[in-house]
Amino acid sequence: MVALIVSLKLTLLKNSLKRSVWRTVGLIVGMLYALGLVIAALIGLLALRLAPAELTADVTVLVFSLLTAGWLLMSLLVFGVDETVDPAKFALLPVRARDLLPGLFVSGLIGSPGVATVLVAAGLVVSWSRGLGMTAAALLAFPIGVATCFLLARVGTTALSSFLSSRRFRDSAVVLLVLLGAAIGIGANLVGSAARPGSLELRQVLAGGAAIAGWTPFGWVWAIPADISRGQWLQAGLRLVLALGLVTVLWVIWGYLLDKRLTEPVEGGDASKKVNKVSVGTNASLVERLYPATPAGAVAGRSLRYWRRDPRYLAGMAAVLIAPVIVVVSQVANPDGSSAVAAFAPVLLGSLVGISVAQDLSYDGTALWLHVASGTRGADDRAGRVMSTLTIFGPVLVILVVVSMVLTGLWQLVVPVVALTIALTLIGAGVGSFVGAIWQWPAPPPGANPFQKGSNGGLPSLLSFSAAALGTMILALPTIVLAIASFWVGWLSYLCLVVGVISGLVVLKLGIDYGGRLLDRRWPEAMLSVSERTG
């Protein structure tokens, strides 16, 4: 069974590469990137072999704990999980979850992140090859640790995605996601800032961090060789039991979740899929009153409903909110932190708007045919998506500006902060409208696990992401320069506000017009690139 599933994965991978040059390029870029990281990590681990045992212990425990936490967090927020071999496809076959698990486990590790993790974890054995006991412990920790990484990511994404698709837990799941991301970001930030003062203190911080990390679920397994090196056999045994227990529990949960998917492969079996009458009465009229009864208004209204009903948008919202929350909280919580940085946190969120607008078209998937066949003007499509995005982000931005001002008390910065936020949001929306017309890619459909990305997206999504972010920054440069200059020459902040608003509106108008015209010319091509069979 294992061999069968692994060969299935390899065949699928091979066929998807055969179909698209973009994917091949994307895979190679990803592989080169991973290879660079792996080589750097292996050199580091090799060097640690020669370092004192105490240092090796602290560094490896901390780094590998972060790696494990990174698997969970990155899968939730950035990369998603690779579901090339989709377990739901096995629903019709007479197999049980426990027959599939080992095969899915091995096949899930085939791919850049999995292979990289295996290689780096193998490097741990090199670092600890200083005696029979330590080598044996590292050899033991290696497979358990890799399994922990992988299973945490799988179980985490599956559990959270079922939360996101159930109406009742949806909002709390978004909040949970933001808090989880923010907590880890803030933790890393605090450790980093505490480490600044000098190498002796750095050493202490490292030891302290390692001690804490070693007792979190992420670090249990990686701390075993370190315990052996200190001769603390009992503690090593305890951690081994904990680590094995964690893997077992995760394995059982994964099996349970898989069994559920084999019997109900259609996700989101949510009881209340019927839009209830009351909410339609108020909701529909509200959405319809909010926007004019034009094609652009219709696109905006439809898109706004999707922000509420589609887990993919909610997951994206959470990912976007994390960065500013981290900045505000960590700068305010940290006594050495600069509160001016926190005051500018809303700017960060504003700069992410463009990326969101740019990917909106791809999220429609093949449902986009409706816009193509009805002859919807590209500019209407663009304008509608911008309107709904601003409807969502506008209030959030206002709240964030007020919160960051109240927390930092730096009201004298309010003008440049508002100027930058407005400029980046509007310019981002304009750039996103244009960039979104250039690149589209097949995104997972709304019912699917929002964390499932797999081989989808690839290079076009990466290009779209970078171009939207970079374009926004470049076009906002005049406003940014003026905002910085206003630190010294106060009245410039008002000029900054004027320039920010005007340049924002101009870029928005141009982005919608040119993006729309581009889309008018290449609707069929856009249609082709959101379809799965794209070449």
Binding site: K273, V275, V280, G297, A298, T366, A373, S374
Partner: protein, 252 residues
Amino acid sequence: MALHGLCKTFGAKRAVDNLHLEVRAGCIFGMVGPNGAGKTTTLSMATGLLRPDAGTAQVLGHDVWTDPAAAKALMGVLPDGLRLFDRLSGGELLHYVGLLRRVPPADIEHRSAELLEALGLTEDLDTLVVEYSAGMTKKIGLACALIHAPRLLILDEPFEAVDPVSGQGIRSILRSYARGGGTVVLSSHVMELVESLCDDLAVVAEGRVLVSGTVESVRAGSTLQKRFLDLVGFTAADEEGLAWLHSSSPSS
């Protein structure tokens, strides 16, 4: 609708190969052909969803590819195998399409109500389309194609998965639509249906039109089923084949 010299190649496969087809106004036109004959590809090119490698598609005198806005405004389309905005309820989806098609909001209201009534979807007005069965999804798709009162309807497999009662409803809608001067082009696998519903038809295989004309002239005294099998070159399978299927053994 007039298609001339349409070609489309996917990789090494020639999906549509120099296809010519003319449909006269005011008739119900059936397109039949085996799986992979290029029906969906042809209809996609006729509706502006897929750019042809060569050839032209005209709708009531407007070229779909040089004057898309005018051509698309005249067409109502029901594609096969593409998603709908299925996180909207049936009513919301219909309203959305109406606004995209620039139908005045007051007209959208009463047309929606009538269409949902005629297709038996009134009770599911507030259910998200993602929860609809395959047949209901077809029906709401048909409603979306009709909301702006098009002059030409292009329907890819409109009867697939639709129950007989609703099927009858759709037939009478299409007949009265054609009587009112509208033109319908539909594709189907079901010969009996095409025989009883359509005025004209074309048999398509391997990306070409094998024969086209009135239903009478195509079936030429025989049944359509028999003529179709002759045309696409079907040879009866060996009755002795697949013998292992006859008794199901628990071991295999």
